[in-house]
């Protein structure tokens, strides 16, 4: 009997509370702006305005990266071509059109770059990095970085990202991923995974440190279009997902 009473009391409280909850929801729902910034809030749980090291990896900043590059990454995460399960789960049911809008949003986002990191390079290491960046190593079929990533190393829109303003640790990790074909990238043979496999650890470390120590260009730079032979060699990277 007592149990019965308690039960009914509980029911009454619950129903009252539910009704109250429902009324609140109708009366004063949270005001949600109809903007892309609001729609990409889930990204911000990891990707802040600045790049940051997280619990399970490194979360690079997204602001200002080329639109086509960002779109390809989003699509590749979703479809498992670039492997990182949390991103695949997050984007699982989103259309190409919507991913393109997201890419566009982040590409247009203006955010000042962090100051360059201290170089800590021996003169030999710095020279090695500069040589690879300007000339590559034709003997090993390694092109100069500037051939694709632009004379100013600020990328070649819309598919090739810039190399400045990125933390050294992030670049070291990316070189490793391209080389090993491991978790993140380079599962499929393509130009950057071939280059990554050619580079020695000494070379990729020197490149990462040197690039991270460079200041951003002070004034506007105009990126030349990608040379035809590079576009062909890197076809897998410089076409949008739809064309692959």
């Amino acid at each position: 009997m007592e149990g019965m009473k308690t039960f009914f009391l509980m029911m009454a409280i619950c129903s009252a509370a539910l009704a109250f909850g429902a009324r609140v929801a109708v009366a004063a729902p949270v005001d949600v702006p109809d903007t892309m910034a609001e729609r990409v809030k889930p990204c911000a749980a990891c990707h802040g305005l600045e790049s940051a090291a997280g619990r399970d990896g490194f979360y690079p900043r997204l602001a200002g990266k080329p639109k086509g590059y960002l779109f390809n990454q989003l699509r590749d995460f979703r479809d498992g071509r670039r492997y990182y399960r949390p991103m695949a789960l997050l984007l699982e049911n989103l259309s190409d059109e919507y991913l393109m809008e997201m890419a566009s949003h982040f590409a247009d986002l203006k955010q000042p770059y962090p100051p360059p990191e201290p170089a800590n390079l021996t003169p030999g290491e710095a020279a090695l990095a500069r040589r690879l960046i300007e000339n590559g190593d034709p003997a090993r079929n390694i092109p100069a970085c500037v051939e694709c990533h632009g004379k100013a190393l600020m990328g070649t829109p819309p598919y090739i990202p810039g190399l400045l303003g990125l933390p050294r640790m992030y670049m070291v990790a990316q070189f490793g991923a391209w080389r090993s074909g491991g978790l993140l990238r380079g599962r499929k043979a393509n130009c950057m995974s071939e280059i990554g496999k050619q580079l020695t650890a000494e070379e990729s470390n020197a490149l990462a440190a040197w690039l991270a120590s460079r200041p951003m260009p002070e004034h506007d730079f105009s990126a030349a279009p990608l040379a035809a032979q590079m576009a062909q060699r890197c076809g897998d990277l410089v076409r949008s997902g739809a064309e692959r």
């Binding site: 509370a17 909850g21 929801a25 749980a45 699982e92 989103l94 059109e97 919507y98």
Partner: protein, 442 residues
């Protein structure tokens, strides 16, 4: 669970095997059973008229979407219908087949009859019984006419050469006679039979829900042998843990889970076709189903499904866990949960869990949040996600993943708080429950 099912299957095999041998029953794959000519089924001879073939292919394309063939027969980022998707289950991992018309690696050598045999009887072209990971237990209700239309659509696709590896089925489930035995006990072929006491719309809805839509493949409890509980007769949409996943498919016959008897028809149809409504938001596997399949429903079919779902009788209430007396330790747990809510959840879901219906789900009074088991809410917090992009909701708002941000105990605290705040009265969540849900996140 696994050991239990093993013991059960062996015991069943022994007992029933003896009985059947005594009764002279043949367990080996044999000729088609008499059910291959179901009542009302058409023989389905292809017509030479190209106009009509085209319209049949078009119909088949739609029916294949409703049946969500592509959802399973396409690997992540793979060629549509070329198979290769892995389906993990307690019995092993199944790998879906290539159903494009390639002659070597697909079903280019099949004819309508072969396809019908697979869909209706669960048998491959060579007569081998198929594992019910392929939901022929539901597809058997599909009419011959619809089966032929789906087949003609599949045959019209560009053939894709893709050899998929065989499944990795564990012993003893890879022992074929056991599969035949399973089929003997749990599978009865038969096309959907119209209930003359109900409207045409209701019957269409029932046909879609039970057959093409194969809703009970997820929204039903399964016994340790993977058979839908109650499949032999009666209602089979009482909710259940989805095999090989950390998601619970809520009951469609319970007002405290995902039953829709109290909903306006329009809202049910809206949820099915757009993935969101003011009353609920789809996530996890249901979001997949909406994107891959349900968003393509015609308005008539969506309404028919809604009519049928709304009519499902309320199942017997599961006994709710007794209200917990929350001790001091529990109160401290909830207070920390409240602080986490304040920091990470309040902006979107509101200070009183009011949310923004249709955008950010209200949490006060939200059935998905207070459900037992709490796995879906845990999973949603861990992986976040967006409802599907659909033509009715092309730019959905989303939920951030918190697996990288919150520890297991923090997820447990905040969900415990949500499940007991603003009139919600569900059980507290433990760290272990969260830990179990992390499986498959990386």
């Amino acid at each position: 669970m696994k050991r239990g099912s093993l013991a059960a299957i062996l015991a069943l095999a022994t007992v029933l095997g003896i009985v059947m041998v005594l009764a002279g029953l043949d367990l080996s794959p044999g000729p088609a059973d008499p059910a291959s000519a179901p009542p009302g089924g058409k023989t389905g001879t292809a017509t030479a008229d190209p106009g009509s073939l085209q319209s049949r292919q078009e119909r088949g394309r739609y029916l294949a979407q409703v049946a969500n063939c592509m959802g399973c027969h396409t690997a992540q980022g793979g060629q549509p219908y070329a198979g290769g998707k892995e389906l993990p289950t307690p019995f092993g991992t199944f790998i879906t087949s290539n159903i494009t018309p390639d002659r070597q690696t697909g079903i280019g050598n099949w004819n309508e009859q072969d396809f019908w045999k697979a869909l209706h009887e669960g048998k491959s072209r060579d007569g081998r019984p198929l594992y019910p990971a392929f939901p022929y237990t539901e597809y058997t209700k599909i009419s011959r006419e619809d089966s032929d239309a789906i087949f003609s659509h599949l045959q019209s696709l560009a053939p894709v050469v893709q050899e998929n590896p065989p499944g990795r089925i564990q012993f003893p489930y890879n022992f074929q006679p056991l599969l035949s035995l399973w089929r003997f006990i749990y599978f009865k072929p038969g096309v959907y039979e119209t209930d003359s006491g109900q409207s045409g719309e209701w019957n269409r809805g029932a046909y879609l829900v039970q057959g093409l839509g194969h809703c009970s493949a997820c929204h039903a409890e399964r016994n340790p042998l993977g058979a839908v509980v109650g499949a032999a007769g009666g209602e089979t949409l009482g909710g259940g843990q989805i095999m090989g996943s950390n998601w619970y498919a809520p009951s469609l016959t319970s007002g405290s889970e995902a039953g829709s008897s109290g909903w306006p028809l329009g809202e049910i149809a809206q949820l099915l076709t757009t993935g969101v409504s003011s009353k609920a938001t789809t996530s996890g596997p249901m979001a997949d189903v909406v994107r891959q399949s349900l968003q393509h429903l015609t308005a008539e079919d969506a309404r028919a499904m809604a009519v049928y779902l709304k009519s499902l009788p309320e199942s017997a209430q599961r006994p709710l866990p007794a209200a917990q007396a929350i001790n001091e330790q529990g109160r401290a747990w909830l207070e920390r949960g409240s602080a986490i809510y304040e920091k990470h959840c309040k902006d979107c879901h509101g200070p009183s869990g009011e949310g923004a219906p249709g955008i950010y789900p209200p949490l006060a009074g939200n059935r998905g949040v207070v459900m037992t088991p709490p796995v879906n809410a845990i999973r949603s917090i861990l992986i976040g996600g967006y409802p599907p992009s659909t033509s009715g909701n092309p730019r959905p708002y989303g939920m951030p993943p918190f697996a990288q941000v919150l520890r297991d105990d923090e997820v447990a605290m905040v969900l415990s708080y949500i499940r007991t705040a603003w009139g919600n009265a569900a059980s507290l969540v433990t760290r272990d429950q969260v830990d179990k849900s992390r499986v498959g996140l990386h």
